[in-house]
Symmetry: C2
C-alpha cells in the first residue's frame, strides 16, 4: 500500500490556497489528513475539499505537530516566521514566497528543470517566481540542446500575481470605468483596468524592479548557470489569471527553428500552440486553468544569427504557483524524499 | 500675411479622422477651406469643426479639385485608389496607410527624425506605422549619439490601432464578460477584454506578423539605416488608445544611462516620466491625449555591456497617427514645400 501524507496548507484562503485545494483533489494527492491554516483574520471560515467542509484554523506553533508536508503561500513575512518552526517539527515546507529562494541550502525547483536539486533539501523547498517558472519550462529544454547565452524578456502579467484581492480590484475598476466613475486603487497604486504599468515591485538603484531581479537571480539558480545573462521588463496588464511573455533567446550557436519546435513538442509541461495561417497562438484566456505552458510563434530572430523569438502563456496560479509546488511534492514522493 | 490652405480629410469619420479635426483646430492650422471626405456609407453625416457643422461628402474624382493638402486615413485600398488622383490634381497627400510607405520615391517621415526627406516628395508623403513612430521619436536621438546596432522590442498595443470600431468592441466585450455573457468578436478574431493576443496582422513565412515587419522595414527607412537589426513581438492588449513598448537597444559602444537621460530630456516630442521611488513610469492612460511620447525606466541592460532598456507610451491616435501627419504638413509649410 502506498503511503499517504498529513498535509497543511498555510495561506489557505488566498488565490493560491484555493488552487492548492482544487489541485490536491484533481491530482488524487495521497492525503491522510488536511489542515487549513491562515491568519487569525481568516480563521473560522470553511472551505470545501472533495465535498467536505474543512474549517480554517489560525496558524500557531502547535499547528505543525504531526504534519508531513506544508504547502505555504502566505507571503514572505509569514513564511519566515512559520517555516522554520514547521521544519523543526519535522515537516517538509514547500514555500511559494520569495523568503528562502536565494538561500544556498534551499532548493529552488521547477521539477521539469532541476528535480535533482530536491535531494539536497533541509526541510524547506522554495517554489520560484511565477514568471520564472513559466519561462524556465519552455527555455530549459532548448538550453539543454544549445546553451543559452542571453535572454531578453518582456512580460504581460495578470492581476492574479498580486492575489485574489487584485483580481477583484481589476473587476471593480472595470465596472467603475464603464459606469463613468473613478476606479478604486487599493491593491495597486494605479488603475489597471484599460491600462497597464511596469510591475508594482520596488525598483532598485540599477533601475530594475523586484520582479525583474527575481527573474534574473532565480533563472540562474534553477538552470545552475550562475553567469546566465538575462534582462527583463515586467509589466502588469488587465488580464485576470494568466501571464504571457515575449522571450528573445540568444544561443551559443544557431538554433534551427525546426529543431526548436521538435524539442518543445516533446518538452514536459509544454504545449505548442501555433497555427500561422489562422494567426492562432497562445492567449491568456486559453492558458487559464491549464497545467501546461502554451508556447507559439517560435521563429528565427531576424536580427541575430543565433537567436530565436517565442511567445508563451501560462496559468499564473497553476503552473506559476500551486501546481509547481504540488509537482515538487509529487516528485519528492516518487524520489522517496517525503 | 501667411498663406492658408484648402484641406481635405479622407476618412473623416474614423478614429484618426476625428483626431485630425481636433488637432487642426487645437494647433490653429492655417485652413482656408476644409472638406470632409469618406465612403458613400458615411456621406451625409455632419462633423463639428470649430463650432461649425461640416457635412461629410462621398469621395469622388472631383473631390480633390482645388485642394492643396489631403490628410488621408482611409486604409490602404482607398489610399491606392485616391492618392494618385489627388496628386494628379496638384494636391499633396499625407497618407496614414501602409500603401506607399515602402515606395522608393515616397518619403516616410517622422519630423523629429527625418524631416529632410520631405524635400524629395513627389506628392505623396507616407505617415509611418504607429509603433514605429513612437519608438523612433525616442530611439533616434540616442542613435545620433551612438549608433544603434540592434533593437529587441515588445509592444503593448491598444485597441485604437484597429480603429474606432475596435475600441467600441473592447468596451462591448468587457460589458458582456462582466455580465457573464459571451463577448462579441467582429473586429478582432478573438476576445480582447481581459485577454491579449499577438497582433492580428497576417503572419509571413518567417513567422513575423505584418505589424512586426512594418516596424523593421519602416525604422530602417526612417533612420536611413538599411542594415539596422531589429526584431519585434507585437501584442494587442485591452487598452483603449495608447501604445506601450519595452525597448532593448544595443549600441555600437557602451551608452551611459546618465547621458541617455540627458539626451531624452532634450529630445523633441519626448517627455521623460520616471520617479523610481514612487514606481511611477509611463502608463497608457497618462499618454492618452498627450502629444509627446512618454519614456521612463531608462536603465543599463545588465545582460549586455552596450545595451540600454527603456519603456515608452504614446497616444496611438495622436503621435502614432494624426498628430505626426499634421506635424509633417506643418514642417512642409515651414520649409516652403507646401
Amino acid at each position: 500500500m502506498s503511503k499517504s501524507y498529513r498535509v497543511a496548507i498555510l495561506g489557505a484562503t488566498g488565490a493560491v490556497g484555493a488552487e492548492f485545494l482544487s489541485l490536491l483533489a484533481e491530482r488524487h494527492f495521497p492525503i491522510a489528513d488536511l489542515k487549513l491554516l491562515a491568519s487569525p483574520r481568516s480563521a473560522g471560515k470553511k472551505l470545501l475539499f472533495q465535498g467536505e467542509e474543512i474549517p480554517v484554523e489560525a496558524v500557531t506553533e502547535a499547528s505543525f505537530t504531526g504534519i508531513d508536508l506544508v504547502l505555504a503561500s502566505a507571503g514572505s513575512e509569514q513564511a519566515k516566521l512559520w517555516a522554520p518552526i514547521a521544519v523543526q517539527q519535522g515537516c517538509v515546507v514547500i514555500d511559494n514566497s520569495s523568503a528562502f529562494r536565494q538561500e544556498p541550502d534551499v532548493p529552488l525547483v521547477v521539477p521539469e528543470v532541476n528535480r535533482y536539486a530536491l535531494k539536497e533539501h533541509r526541510g524547506i523547498i522554495a517554489n520560484p517566481n511565477c514568471t520564472t517558472i513559466l519561462m524556465s519550462v519552455v527555455v530549459y529544454p532548448l538550453h539543454r540542446v544549445i546553451p543559452v547565452e542571453r535572454l531578453v524578456i518582456a512580460t504581460y502579467q495578470s492581476a492574479s500575481g498580486a492575489g485574489a484581492r487584485a483580481m477583484a480590484e481589476l473587476l471593480e475598476q472595470t465596472k467603475a470605468i464603464l459606469a463613468g466613475q473613478t476606479p478604486p486603487t487599493e491593491v495597486f497604486q494605479y488603475p489597471l483596468a484599460f491600462n497597464l504599468f511596469l510591475h508594482n515591485s520596488p525598483v532598485n538603484e540599477e533601475g530594475y524592479c523586484g520582479e525583474e531581479v527575481k527573474m534574473m537571480r532565480e533563472t540562474r539558480k534553477i538552470f545552475a548557470e550562475p553567469n546566465l545573462r538575462l534582462t527583463a521588463t515586467c509589466v502588469r496588464v488587465p488580464v485576470l489569471r494568466a501571464h504571457s511573455e515575449a522571450v528573445n533567446i540568444e544561443f551559443r550557436a544557431p538554433f534551427p527553428v525546426k529543431t526548436a519546435l521538435e524539442v518543445l513538442q516533446q518538452a514536459p509541461g509544454v504545449t505548442v500552440v501555433q497555427d500561422f495561417a489562422r494567426n492562432y497562438f497562445p492567449m491568456p484566456i486559453e492558458a487559464s486553468g491549464k497545467d501546461n505552458v502554451l508556447v507559439g510563434r517560435i521563429r528565427a530572430d531576424l536580427s541575430h544569427p543565433n537567436a530565436l523569438e517565442l511567445w508563451l502563456c501560462g496559468d499564473q496560479i497553476r503552473k506559476g504557483a500551486a501546481l509547481n509546488a504540488i509537482q515538487i511534492a509529487e516528485a519528492m514522493i516518487a524520489d522517496q524524499l517525503l
